[in-house]
């Protein structure tokens, strides 16, 4: 899932200052699961903005709405009326959702209420961790399902850096060494032989370094 964090209320107020009628638009998918931009968070953010607005005399008129997915035109349609009524939209979706709304409503200022941070999973209650860098050429099959690009701070593709201490990364001591995990996992599934293969330098063209990416499925086009 896409993981995002809320911007601070003063940051949001600063962004929204030139406007009066504001729609806080939530997204019911990834950001709901990571508890940053769903219906409940929209309500909390709206309350905080109303309080801040009254204290600072900004006279915001804040409306709230949460749709199933902001990155999908079918669902964006459900927000049409609310968006038309607003002077500006504060979207609490990921960056993709914010841009989908902005593209659909070219005359309407659309702002991001969240900082989109990474692709990850819920590790434990209240803790999300990054698992995928969306590099565009997955190598997970070679590393026992543990991604050295995302989970090794140095993106080492051919063995550990040697800096880890007690199975912890030397860059982020609160995170496990990815190569320790890879070794253990490959040992558990009897694939340690894989480590003898030398991985050539990665071609990053399929990643964001190669420019904005797109996926075209001719079989699904109309």
């Amino acid at each position: 899932m896409i993981v995002a964090e809320r911007k601070t209320i003063p940051e949001m107020v600063e962004i929204l200052k030139p406007h009066k009628k504001i729609l806080v638009l939530g997204c019911g998918t990834c950001v709901t699961v990571c508890l940053s931009g769903g219906e409940r968070e929209v309500s909390i953010i709206s309350s905080a903005l109303r309080i801040a607005s009254r204290i600072q005399g900004l006279n915001f008129e804040i409306a709230e709405l949460t749709i199933e997915r902001q990155c999908d035109n079918i669902f964006i349609e459900q927000a049409a009326e609310a968006i038309q009524k607003a002077d500006a939209v504060l979207s609490t979706a990921c960056g993709a959702g914010v841009q989908a709304i902005a593209e659909r409503y070219p005359q309407k200022p659309v702002y991001a209420g969240l900082n989109t941070t990474f692709l990850g999973i819920l590790e434990e209650r209240g803790v999300w961790t990054e698992k995928c860098a969306a590099c565009g050429a997955c190598v997970l099959h070679k590393y026992g399902g543990i991604c050295p690009i995302t989970r090794c701070a140095k993106r080492m593709m051919n063995g550990p850096c040697g800096g880890s201490r007690e199975e912890r990364c030397e860059v982020r001591k609160d995170r496990p060494c990815a190569w320790q995990l890879i070794f253990k996992r490959l040992k558990d599934i009897n694939q340690l032989e894989r480590l003898k293969e030398i991985e050539p330098a990665k071609n990053w063209n399929s990643s964001l370094s190669g420019g904005p990416r797109m996926l075209i499925r001719e079989d699904h086009k109309i």
Binding site: S43, R50, A52, I62
Partner: protein
């Protein structure tokens, strides 16, 4: 401090402890300031950040959250959940421009009516010192949550 100021404080009280303590305080004819409006909750773990924010948005000068003693929650960990949510809300209040001291969590057992009374007095005193909330009353035009 405004001497005529009578703070309005919303008190979310757990059914299994603080609400019973408030009830016992009444039965025992203990006096406490009439500034609090008690809302009974099945457990403080049921209380969400949104509830506290809605109370402040609607013009509450303070919010008191009263749960079971730590380690004796009827639902095992509801009061610990509430404690963390209260702390998160304090940060939000600060960001919005309100004093975080306007929100407080206390722990009382069902038998501690005297303690409940002391907590209420202390909360009223704290909020009275802070003065009225700078967040003016909600206008009818705006959507408000039910509290």
């Amino acid at each position: 401090m405004n001497n005529n100021f009578e703070p309005k404080i919303v008190a979310f009280c757990c059914h299994y402890c603080a609400y019973a303590a408030a009830d016992l305080a009444g039965s025992g004819r203990l006096q406490y300031p009439p500034n609090i409006r008690i809302i009974r909750s099945p457990c403080t773990g049921r209380l969400e950040i949104d509830f506290f924010m809605k109370a402040f948005e609607a013009g509450a000068d303070g919010v008191l959250v009263a749960g079971c003693e730590e380690g004796s929650c009827h639902f095992k960990e509801g009061n610990y959940l509430a404690k963390r949510r209260v702390n998160t809300t304090k940060q939000l209040l600060l960001e919005a421009g309100l004093e975080p001291e306007r929100l407080r969590m206390v722990n009382v057992s069902a038998a501690s009516s005297q303690k409940f009374v002391e907590y209420v007095r202390d909360m009223v005193e704290t909020v009275a010192k802070l003065g009225p909330t700078r967040n003016k009353k909600t206008t009818t035009k705006e959507k408000t949550g039910a509290i």
